[in-house]
């Protein structure tokens, strides 16, 4: 069974540009989470999808971040326009039921110059 996959693995962009991160959860997992780790800090929750619906987006930093999960399968996280402080590692996780184990992807390393 394939795990959670994320694309791209790395992205280097300039301030003001747009970047879109993609997450493919484990097949059959209705719950999809985005987390972020900025350098030197802890991994922090961004938002939670149940199928295509946003269950909780309380961790989204500001309106430059837009997450979608059309069709309830893969999800995208778009940052527009990117700022220097958006640099970090963006993790996606999925679980079958909400209160079950979250399986993490390898992360996308984003560097905004």
């Amino acid at each position: 069974e394939a795990g959670v996959t994320q694309f791209p693995s790395h992205s280097v962009i300039e301030k003001g540009q747009t970047v879109t991160l993609r997450c493919d959860p484990i097949s059959g997992h209705d719950n999809l989470y985005w987390y972020r780790r900025v350098m030197g800090k802890e991994i922090k929750f961004l938002l939670h999808f149940v199928k295509e619906s946003k269950q909780d987006e309380s961790g989204m930093p500001n309106n430059r971040f837009l997450a979608e999960r059309t069709g309830g399968t893969y999800s995208t996280l778009k940052v527009q326009p990117a700022e220097l402080e958006d640099s970090g590692v963006y993790f996606c996780a999925s679980s079958q039921d909400q209160w079950e184990t979250q399986y993490f992807g390898p992360g996308t390393r984003l560097l905004v110059l």
Partner: protein
């Protein structure tokens, strides 16, 4: 004040040593506790999961939770070089609308052969 405090290390031990990793937390609503292991350039991988105070053992790993002191520990017996990784504690509550995990900053462990 952070909700979860974890010593970032690094912690260096000789092969075969017993390793003790710890986290403290401030939110008494936390009801479940996890330890994740993260190898370099990989996503976090769940090691141990517990709901209650007390000890839970799995092979060389023992997770300990003391809710009265808001303190959790992970013990690794007979540590191996392959245990070298970052260890993240994470926790959550069952009362919210979403299963968002609150992480510590992680402790970097190096087991020297």
């Amino acid at each position: 004040q952070k909700e979860v405090e974890q010593d970032p290390g690094p912690l260096s031990v000789p092969e075969g040593a017993i390793v003790s990793l710890n986290c403290t937390y401030s939110n008494s609503a936390f009801q479940y506790f996890m330890w994740y292991r993260q190898y370099s350039r990989k996503g976090p991988e769940l090691l141990m999961y517990t709901y209650s105070s007390g000890n839970k053992e799995d092979g060389r790993f023992t997770a300990q939770v003391d809710k009265s002191s808001k303190y959790i520990s992970l013990f690794i017996r007979d540590s191996q070089p392959s245990d070298s990784a970052t260890y993240l504690c994470a926790m959550g509550d069952l009362e919210g609308a979403t299963n968002k995990l609150i992480f510590g900053t992680g402790t970097l462990l190096a087991v020297q052969p």
